[in-house]
Structures are given as structure tokens and as C-alpha cells.
């Protein structure tokens, strides 16, 4: 069983967003999605595979409210870049959903790259681990979802040195 969670950006905590807002909402492969009328598209979610070129596709799909990115396996890192490009290059503000082989150990990386909802296994262990969306107090990169005060490199000037090494 899968469940859908999202991240509340004000608290960085994961929130359940089951059941889905649209009862008929389905994930549709790009080719099928493009065949739909504008009206029908609004009720569906387009599912992009990692080998699809987001630069070629983005305009064609017409800024839908949700874009789902498929992880065919948990070590395929391409959707991380696709999400970053959607947020950075296209300033896409809709929901970027991680589906497929989504592991709780990767939620924080996904969130920082711009994913905003996640389809994960609905089991007790996953449920206890979703707090991993914000495991690290600081980070060294300026990703789209990162708040500046947690950016170690920019904050170094204010930090106390640790004795040693």
C-alpha cells in the first residue's frame, strides 16, 4: 500500500494528504496525457519518466497543477535534476510529486530539490521515518527549498569555531 504525503514548508513536517483531492485522479504517461483535452487534463496528473527531456516537454504540458516524476528504481538520480530545473529554470510553482521507488531515506534530498509531495510505502516504519524530511540542521548548498539561515556557507561568518582538529 502506498500513501501520499506532503511537506508543510512552514514547519518542515510531513503531512498526510490522503485521500487524494480528486477521486478520479490518475497518473498518466506523457503520451496519453498529451492526447487529453484541456478540461480532462485538469483532472489527471502527468507522469514523466526520467529520460524525458523536461526542456522539450514543459511547454507542451502547459503548466499543470501537479507534475509527477517517476523513480524507476531508488538509485536513478535523474528526477532530482528534473525537479531542480522545474523550480529554478521554469519557476514552476505547482506540486512536484515523487512516485515509484521513493525511499524515506531520500525524502530530504527530494524535498530540497523541489519535490513537494511523495508517494511512500504506508507501513509503520515509513510513518515513523518521514520526519527525515528535515534531518539535517544545516546544509552547504543553496537549493530552492532551503532557507538561507540554514546555509552553512553563508552563515560561517557568524559561527563559533570548534576547537581542534
Amino acid at each position: 500500500m502506498k500513501k501520499l504525503i506532503a511537506v508543510d514548508p512552514s514547519t518542515y513536517s510531513a503531512i498526510d494528504i490522503n485521500p487524494r483531492k480528486q477521486p478520479n485522479e490518475r497518473l498518466l504517461a506523457l503520451a496519453d496525457y498529451l492526447k487529453l483535452s484541456t478540461l480532462d487534463r485538469a483532472r489527471q496528473v502527468v507522469l514523466l519518466e526520467p529520460d524525458e527531456d523536461i526542456d522539450a516537454v514543459f511547454e507542451a504540458i502547459g503548466e499543470p497543477p501537479i507534475i509527477a516524476l517517476n523513480f524507476p528504481n531508488f538509485f536513478d538520480g535523474r528526477p532530482f535534476s528534473t525537479a531542480s530545473i522545474l523550480r529554478q529554470r521554469y519557476a514552476y510553482e505547482g506540486d512536484i510529486r515523487a512516485v515509484g521507488a521513493v525511499r524515506v531515506d531520500q525524502l530530504e534530498q527530494m524535498y530540497r530539490c523541489g519535490f513537494s509531495s511523495f508517494e511512500i510505502d504506508d507501513d509503520p516504519l515509513s510513518n515513523t521515518l518521514v520526519s527525515a524530511v528535515q534531518f539535517f540542521s544545516y546544509h552547504y548548498q543553496s537549493m530552492i527549498s532551503d532557507s538561507a539561515d540554514r546555509h552553512a556557507c553563508n552563515s560561517h561568518n557568524t559561527a563559533k569555531p570548534v576547537p581542534g582538529p
Binding site: F80, C153, G164
Partner: protein, 550 residues
Amino acid sequence: MYQYDQFDQTLIEERTRQFRNQTQRFLEGKLASEEFQQLRLRNGLYVQKLAPMLRVAIPYGMLSSNQLRKLAHISRKYDKGYGHFTTRQNIQFNWPKLEQVPDILEQLASVQMHAIQTSGSCIRNITADPLAGVANDELEDPRPWAEIIRQWSTLHPEFNWLPRKFKIALSGSDHDRAAIKVHDIGLRLVRQQHRTGFEVWAGGGLGRTPIIASKIKPFLEKEHLLTYLTAILRVYNRLGRRDNKYKARIKILVKALGANAFSQHVESEWLTLKNSPDTISETNIDRFRNCFSKPDYLDLVDESISNDDIPESDCQLWLKHNVLDHKMSGYAIVNIALKDIGSAPGDISAAQMDLIADLADTYSSGEIRVTHEQNLVLADVRQSDLITLWHSLTTAKLATANLGLISDVICCPGGDFCSLANARSIPLAHAIQSQYQQIQEIVDIGALDINISGCMNACGHHHVGNIGILGVDKKGLEYYQISVGGDAGEQTQLARILGPAFPEQDITQAIERLVQCYRQSRLPQESFIQTFNRIGIEPFKTAAYPGTTA
């Protein structure tokens, strides 16, 4: 050297806690083995033939004396009392217990060390010139930049699941001591109209398909370093092959697209990244530069040490071969060769680690550097202390005066430890070192790099050895393929295969025939590689296979 602040420290402590949780879930059966494999690899933990192996990061090869003492302690408490320095400036422990690895990481974190991204398909530990800051041919100290890249690449959320491993090397001198052209990205500090920047190389690498990198940008302004690296990594992450692990490195992508087209991809990606928040401010650049301020050098003059002052010929040789010029007068750079006959190249005992830590405090700036030749460096030794230091090193079997000579063999752990290897490499290194023990002979042969890898993965960098040896499997037997003419230095060239592989027992004779070929063909003052470049491979082929028409 770089000192952690509360942000850096919190981050590695949290990473240790995260890894402890992952390990615990695996041991309790709550994390599938193939998932834990990928997670543990991203924290330096392999499962090898006999035991797990933990690779600890030594960023750009810099260690403080306290860190080295901690490594000695870890090797005593959790391992078998020794460690192994690698060709990428890291250290490996060959016998830790899986359930104790989180404790080891906690110990490491207490001295600002970690094992983050020392394996797995992600950005690996950054390597740099081991003589950074003290070399007299340096344009600018590369270490502040290496640290900036280290931080940026650490737990980068977009680039933790790349097609394959990714290695970045950095040099601040014209003379390349970091082998930047055989890395996925090589960076060289350059100056253009009084401004500092980087020459960017990409797509180099050894392994199964050795390729010399292509220059993809002649001058990158320094503040744009991280956004440009992001662009390269993003192009690679999206377009690099994932269907075949032997074709997944960036070198294959650069070759398939062509260097110009690859560079255009990067430039177009960079357009939207340039000036984004990872652009490095002048304030931050200064801050990182200040982390690597010079030690308080005394105002000294160069000593003139005549041979009459040094009765021992061993010491004279050591001064000649293992001691290099320092940019400050009165100081010297001391190389400690971890190539004593009888121990594996790069191996170091806990007692030796403790001793070197003490010597670094007494005679140098309390810092130790690790070189990609698997040796150590004390970078700030007063010339007047050299002979006393030599005596201390000799007692601990650490004064082998063979730096850069034929017995300074570079070697991977090979089939004795590594589950990937086709053949053992350490016994071969020993055989070569045993064959060349007469110091007059070694000195007469002169500069000659022998690199040994136990398999195609080329951890012993055999493609860039003047003589490279690769272990191959022939119907279950260990054979060794010899190549000649590689050079990891300024010219960066790949060695060429001589011919059919040799069985183990014939290797030392074959090496000797190559050495004789060089000695007979050389001009005065000409090194092995210079002779090779002048006369080509044919005479070496003929010498290697006597009685055949090669």
C-alpha cells in the same frame, strides 16, 4: 588547516546519527540489503572478501597530528593496528566490524573527520596538490578552493545518485601534482589580467577505458566555480549512461558528445545557474583563504649541508631524494615513504602513525599531508632539524630513501583484500622492491614510477605508471599485463600495452629487461620516461619478449 565551526560539526554529527539509524535498521532486518548497500557505500563502507572495509576521507590529503593520532587509536581499537593510505589521499581500515562502524564514525567526528561520500555513485573526496601552500612554483594555494568544493559537494541533494562515481582534482601550480587530467573534473588555478580563475578540464579517467580529459573552459571566473560545477554535474546526471556501469562515467559522455558539444551543453545549463545563490562572495572567499593562513615561519636562511657533515650514506640519499625545496628559505619539505620492503605500499602501523604525529608537532607545523603516491609529507621542516628528523624516521623504518625511484611502488590492495581484483598486487610490489634493494642501482636507474592495479578498476593508476602492471585472470590463474610510457605528471600520457600478459614468476625478470633496455638506450641525464618518449615502445617490446619478433 581548515577548522570546523559549529555548522560543520553539527552536520557530521548528524550524518553519523543518520548512519547509525540506517545500520541498526539493516541489522534488525528493517532495511533491504540492496538499499543498505547503496546507503553504506555513500558513507565509505564496502563489504570486502574478508571483512567490511571503511574508507575515511582525508580532504585534499590534509591531516592534523591529532587526527593522525585518532586514526592510530581507531586502528588499534577497531581494527588490526594498521591502516592503508590510498592513491586518492584517503585511508582505509580493512577489518572493522559492521556494527562498530557508527562508533568509529563518532570517534572520527570528534576530530572533524568523516567517511561521507568516499564511495558510491556520488561526488567523492576532493583531491589536490599535496604540496599546496609550500611549493615554490605555486600560483595560488588551492586548498581554500578545495574546501569550498568539499563543502558544496557534501550531501549535495541533487548529485547523490549519479550514474557513477565522480572525482574532482585541483591544482594551484603549473606543475600538476594532482593528476587533474585523469579526473572526471580537473581544475587548475590560472590568472588572466590579474584575476584568478580556473581552467576547467572534464572527462578524464582511468579504469577500463582510460581517457585524458578535455579542456572545456579556458577561464572560469573564481566566483562562478560552484555554479559552473553544478552545470557540469547536472548535464552528467541527466545525460550520463545508466544502462551499463562500464559506460557510465562522464568520460564516456564527453567522448560520445565530443568535447565541444559537451561544453555547449554545460554553458547552456550554466546560463540559468550563473549568479544564482551558490555564487561565492568575496567575503566568503577571504574567509576560506584565512583558514589556510601560513604558519609563523621564522626568518631563516638556507643551510648548506655538506656531505662531510653526514657520515651515513643513507642519510645523504634521503636528503637527496626525499627532501624537496620549500618556498621559504631555511625550510624544507620532507617526504616519508611508506614503501618499506615487507609491508604493503601505503600501509602504516598504529605506532608509526603516533610517531609521525609527534614528529609533525616537533619538527613541522603539526600537519601531515597524504600524497596520491601513498606517501606522507611533513611540509614545514626547518633545514637545521633535517638530520635529527632522519634519525627518528630511520628507527621507525620510515626513512626509505626511494621517493620517485623504482622501489617507490604505487599499488592497490589487490586480491589479498579486494573482492573486485583479478590478481594480487601486494606480493608483486614486494617482489619488485626485493629485486631493487641495492641503493646505488636504484639511484642509477633514477626516476621511475611503477603502478600496480589488481583489476581494470585501476585503483593503482597503472595507466599513468612509467611502467604499469595490471592483474588479469587467465583461466583462474593470475597473470599480469605490462604497459610502458604512462606519465601522471605535467605531460599526462597513458601507458601503452607491451604485449601478452606474464605469469607472476616472470614479472620481475620482465621488469628488469625493461630497465636494462632503458639503461642501454638512455642519453646522459635522461629519465626512463624521457627515453621512452624519444625512442618509442618498439625497443621495449623487443626487450620484454626476447626470442620473439614482437
